[in-house]
């Protein structure tokens, strides 16, 4: 089974603050790391390989520095990796990101199964995976909490829904997004890390793609536009109610109702 895992490099911290006076974003610390949710995706792929054979390859879209997380994936046991990187991809929204990744995937490798993380900690949309599957014209299942079994032509998984769990059989090729905690991600191995130092990473740019129409990438390929950014208005009440227990009960009841916890 050929498995492809989509991994993204994200800022090491989410402590982004916005200066209310100047409107400038401040990021404390510029360190970055692999999107924590993608570790679960990678671990799932490695477990499947251990059980059923095949290869695990990773693909990421980002600036050249994002190669760091591909090396990290090698140290965890990934076989091969590609970085989709081009200045022309800057400013991509969900649609442009998904399209770019789907083009990169097509060029990079054949696959039976693509695994994505549940979401990223910076984009935080959980939408890139499903959009990739649409562009690749393959079925997708999100919120996967368990892999039951794999055969020649399909995989059986459990999908988590709010009030029930569905067991689904999905034909290859397909895309899954997995939940946190599906498996405990392993630590990178020192030996693999040393061995992979010289391992190659394929870099894919616009000129490598089948579709080289610049209008479909980066900001031009992004239907959504950020018009402005602003700090949230934090409305945190702090009230102390001193009254008879009867009045307190009424106030508490009204507040719980107002906050919609009684449906």
């Amino acid at each position: 089974m050929e498995i492809l895992v989509c991994i993204k490099q994200v800022p090491g911290t989410n402590e982004v603050k916005i200066d209310p006076a100047t409107g400038v974003l401040n990021r404390n610390g510029v360190d970055s790391k692999m999107n924590p949710y993608d570790l679960y995706a990678l671990e799932t792929a490695l477990r499947l390989k251990e059980k059923y054979g095949g290869t695990v390859n990773v693909i990421s879209m980002g600036p050249p520095q994002a190669q760091a997380i591909i090396y990290e994936a090698y140290a965890m046991g990934a076989d091969d990796g590609a970085l989709v990187s081009d200045r022309k991809f800057g400013g991509s929204d969900v649609l442009a990101t998904s399209y770019t990744l789907s083009q990169g995937i097509t060029k990079f490798r054949k696959f039976d199964l693509i695994i994505c993380g549940k979401q990223t900690t910076d984009g935080d949309t959980a939408q890139v995976g499903p959009e990739i599957s649409e562009y690749l014209k393959i079925p997708s299942v999100c919120n996967v909490i368990k892999i039951i079994s794999v055969n020649e032509t399909s995989i059986i998984v459990e999908m988590d829904m709010p009030h029930h769990v569905e067991t689904l059989q999905v034909d290859f090729p397909c895309l899954l997004t997995v939940e946190k905690d599906i498996f405990q991600p392993r630590l990178p191995s020192y030996i693999k890390k040393m061995a992979s130092k010289k391992q190659n990473i394929q870099i894919l740019a616009l000129l490598d793609f089948d579709d080289q129409d610049e209008k479909k990438y980066g900001l031009s390929g992004s239907p959504t536009q950020v018009q402005r950014i602003f700090p949230p208005t934090i409305k945190k009440d702090r009230e102390l109610w001193q009254n008879s227990n009867l009045v307190l009960t009424d106030k508490m009841f009204d507040k719980i109702k107002e906050l919609k916890f009684m449906e």
Binding site: L168, L240, L259, M262
Partner: protein
């Protein structure tokens, strides 16, 4: 192609310009400022940098004809025909938006044996409810649902579509957005509409405490997802208005590579970490049997009971229910502490909760420093009264 052009001669202090970029996308190469692929086109460098140093240029794009797209549509989120309440919240919002631009509200209902259930939608200001009801649409499966959705958009051409950010909505909306090559804004917290029918979408962004206002200025339909309980549920009108329209669809379009083998109802969530509502028992609770009243309150609010350390140490509740430094960190939407003093070790595990309500007899208790709503009173009096009130309101026989 839209891009940023750097005019080196207008820069002045290079380091100051580089520091402006929150994404480290500006870098210096041989004394020249370059923009790398980490650029998110936020244009802060354009707006805040030295005047004219970074210029934003776009090719003129062909404008679409927005009048071809009419109406605000809501995807009816459901499992087995049981409509998720987020649907009604979105219908309320859709009505508001549609009225501003003088356009109709549509509901899109996809499933099997759902036609009889669709009448409920007509109590919430829907002008037209489009129903795709056929046995092959039993259970949510991505391909046939996306096919029916596509059929709807092709025929009806709504300008905007609102989808609940539920397990199903989050799988379906992106699929549709990619199919039509249009924008999707996930988890919007505020939605407005301008006269030219552009949906003004506001959501938290960049993973931090920042809000972004997002437009889809040149694509239709515009698609947004919204979480449950973000919008207000409108009043249910006593009489039905609007009409129900059955939509036939070619079975060949509903072919599918996913099979549902089994559906198992879940046991109620047992971990306090993921509970949306937590009722916390502190030492103000005098004996183990009294936890029952907190349990009852938790059940009524769809939540769970947690405790401070003295309670778990006494063995009244299992250790995995303990909140705090040596217990679990929780971040529920609502936490009600009952007889908890508010020690630093306890507060460290819960101060990021959305809403904190605290009942304590002692007006000087530390917990009141973190509580959004502090009640100086006796839990043994307030909690039973509150339970009664909620039961009456819910129509549960006391």
């Amino acid at each position: 192609m839209a891009k940023l052009i750097v005019h080196q001669e207008k820069i002045g202090n290079i380091q100051e310009l580089l520091a402006l970029c929150p994404f480290s996308a500006l870098e210096e190469e041989n004394g020249q400022v370059k923009i790398n692929s980490a650029c998110k086109m936020c244009q802060i460098c354009v707006k805040k940098g030295p005047s004219g140093a970074v210029e934003y240029v776009t090719d003129t794009v062909k404008q679409i004809d927005k009048t071809q797209w009419q109406g605000v549509a809501v995807y009816v989120d459901h499992v087995d025909g049981v409509i998720h309440p987020v649907t009604y919240e979105l219908l309320g919002k859709a009505r508001e938006l549609a009225d501003k631009i003088n356009q109709p509200v549509y509901a899109l209902f996809i499933g099997s044996k759902i036609t009889t259930k669709s009448h409920e939608l007509l109590h919430y200001g829907v002008d037209k409810a489009y129903i795709y009801d056929t046995p092959s649409l039993e259970h949510f499966k991505i391909e046939p649902y996306a096919a029916a959705f596509e059929d709807f958009i092709q025929h009806i051409k709504p300008t905007a579509i609102l989808v609940g950010a539920t397990t199903i909505g989050r799988q379906l909306a992106p699929r549709i957005a990619a199919r039509f090559g249009t924008g999707l804004t996930a988890d919007c917290t505020v939605l407005e509409i301008s006269e030219n029918t552009d949906l003004v979408q506001i959501r938290p962004a960049f993973g931090g405490n920042i809000m972004a206002q997002i437009l889809t200025p040149n694509h239709r339909p515009q698609i947004a997802t919204v979480r449950y309980k973000v919008m207000n549920i409108p009043k249910r009108e006593p009489i039905e208005t609007g009409e129900i329209i059955a939509c036939p669809i070619n079975e060949a379009k509903l072919r599918c590579n996913v099979q549902v083998l089994n559906v198992v109802p879940k046991e109620k969530e047992k971990f306090i970490d993921s509970a949306e509502v937590l009722i916390v028992a502190g030492r103000g609770v005098k004996k183990q049997a009294d936890l029952e009243m907190l349990k009852e309150l938790a059940d009524l609010l769809g939540g769970q009971v947690a405790a401070t350390r003295p309670i778990t140490e006494a063995g009244w509740l299992d250790a995995k229910h303990q909140v705090g430094l040596s217990g679990r960190t929780v971040r529920p939407k609502l936490i009600i502490t009952c007889g908890v003093s508010g020690s630093v070790q306890f507060v460290a595990g819960m101060n990021h909760s959305d809403v904190i309500m605290s009942i304590n007899k002692d007006p000087k208790a530390n917990i009141f420093h973190v509580a959004n709503y502090g009640l100086v009173g006796d839990i043994y009096d307030i909690i039973p009264k509150l339970i009664e009130k909620i039961k009456i309101a819910k129509g549960v026989s006391a």
